[in-house]
Symmetry: C3
Amino acid sequence: MTYHHALFDFSLLQTLVEVLATLAFALSGLLEAARKRLDLVGVCVVAGLTAFGGGTLRDILLDRRPFFWVQHASWLWILLALCTVAMLTLRARHFELTERAVSWPDALGLGLFSAAGTRIALDMQMPAIVAVLMGVITAVFGGVLRDIVCNEIPSAFRDHRPYAACAFIGTWMLVLADTLNAPDWIGLTAAASTTVVLRGLALWTGYSLPAWNPGPPADR
Amino acid sequence: MTYHHALFDFSLLQTLVEVLATLAFALSGLLEAARKRLDLVGVCVVAGLTAFGGGTLRDILLDRRPFFWVQHASWLWILLALCTVAMLTLRARHFELTERAVSWPDALGLGLFSAAGTRIALDMQMPAIVAVLMGVITAVFGGVLRDIVCNEIPSAFRDHRPYAACAFIGTWMLVLADTLNAPDWIGLTAAASTTVVLRGLALWTGYSLPAWNPGPPADR
Amino acid sequence: MTYHHALFDFSLLQTLVEVLATLAFALSGLLEAARKRLDLVGVCVVAGLTAFGGGTLRDILLDRRPFFWVQHASWLWILLALCTVAMLTLRARHFELTERAVSWPDALGLGLFSAAGTRIALDMQMPAIVAVLMGVITAVFGGVLRDIVCNEIPSAFRDHRPYAACAFIGTWMLVLADTLNAPDWIGLTAAASTTVVLRGLALWTGYSLPAWNPGPPADR
């Protein structure tokens, strides 16, 4: 969501996906905050961190300003409203449903935001592997910061389900398209859809990442 | 404390409040570090992070340099001295007393630093909601970083006692004064005192923030 | 490792030490990630954070770009390869051995990277205490970020074994040499070797930092 030139031409579709995905990210923060029984302040901060933390971290690393949420400050109001409404209306029995409903727009966000982050880094002449890393950070580190604040080991690092890995593979499509001098929209579409399809497959098949081979000494 | 042009005119009073409040922030880090039985290095880092972390994070987000503790590097020596003396002299029975003694200058710091942070952001043409957020970050994120390093969910996000919320409301006074073209010192005084009074009321009445309505599935 | 002009003249030796030390830092992240049973993504991120996090944080604070791992992006490939190979080959019985083997190149890294970080900050006209702090951050905060992500209180802050403290003392040699107008390589060598010797002594004698005097109320 931290990406905002009209890079795609089909901009209405893109905006729709962006809004959906940002809401999905925010909701995933909100659910985690609720599980930890945070108060209103904590819920808002964690939801905001999940939605905008990845892009903000990328912009700090790349030394870019202004942040998305500074340029589009109305998003902060939307977030505040979302959190307040959720605290008033979400009941325990809605949680599982929300969680499942969120996983699909979340996959769209993974694809869109990682491709956008990589695009930005490539435009700044970053080396390919750094650009890919920036894409992954954009899409994944919101959730990582959410888990750190909620005092958990980030689930992206330990649940053995392909999430960052999908974005890592997908964003290489963009680098490839760039090397071949393909137009921007082709690379972005290829990257985003590769990531989304891979993530979709992972969700659908329950495929899991290789674990540490023979098991190291456990610690927890 | 990360704010240092003579914005208030009554600058001696302001400096005094700043010093008191910075010490209160540092002490709250020191107490937490002691409870976690950190060593000298940990105590110094956590005390410093609590005192200067919020303003530093704000300056990173706003891309401002130098940091307060670079411009006023003698504070780093004061901190080092404070931690060493505390480790030599503070006994277990002093802890509760220190904690209570700290909560009032801490409230002053909440008011002063949040108003100062918002002022800085407004001067950089940030949108109102972003400026308010920057003020809250200045005053609150030192404690948040302290809790993250000490492996706790930040108490500002979960103790249901109004802290960040007071600063959130107070700093709007500054935005309001700005909109009305009131002189700087009126806005700053209004913002700081609103925050301090709200925080004082919260400490005094034990008022608590609304909890998640019907209780979500617990996780911890 | 985030430091890369030919400041030392004996540059082959220096490069060798840098490579060894960076690998040692990465391995210490890798071992921690394994103990927490992270997946491939987590292992790579934690290893990378341990190796490059300290220098990156210093560069963010000093507002320097590009980062070491952007300028030398091949290190990201090396890290990826290291993690993959380790996950395929490291067995439980290798862990203790690796851990002990790592502690010596890690001490070299502590000396080299803290001296280099201090040098960079001094060149940017930072006050002495800030330059020393930047040196310590360069060498120590990779491990701190590793522990935060792995949901532990940073061991550098609580194990009472001198680590950051050695770098703190050592880097003052550099400041001293600068004050005396000694040539760069003398200050760097004095700082790095003081730190390494102090750390070596600490490892060898098992000396421990003073604990909180009478014991504060325990919390954990």
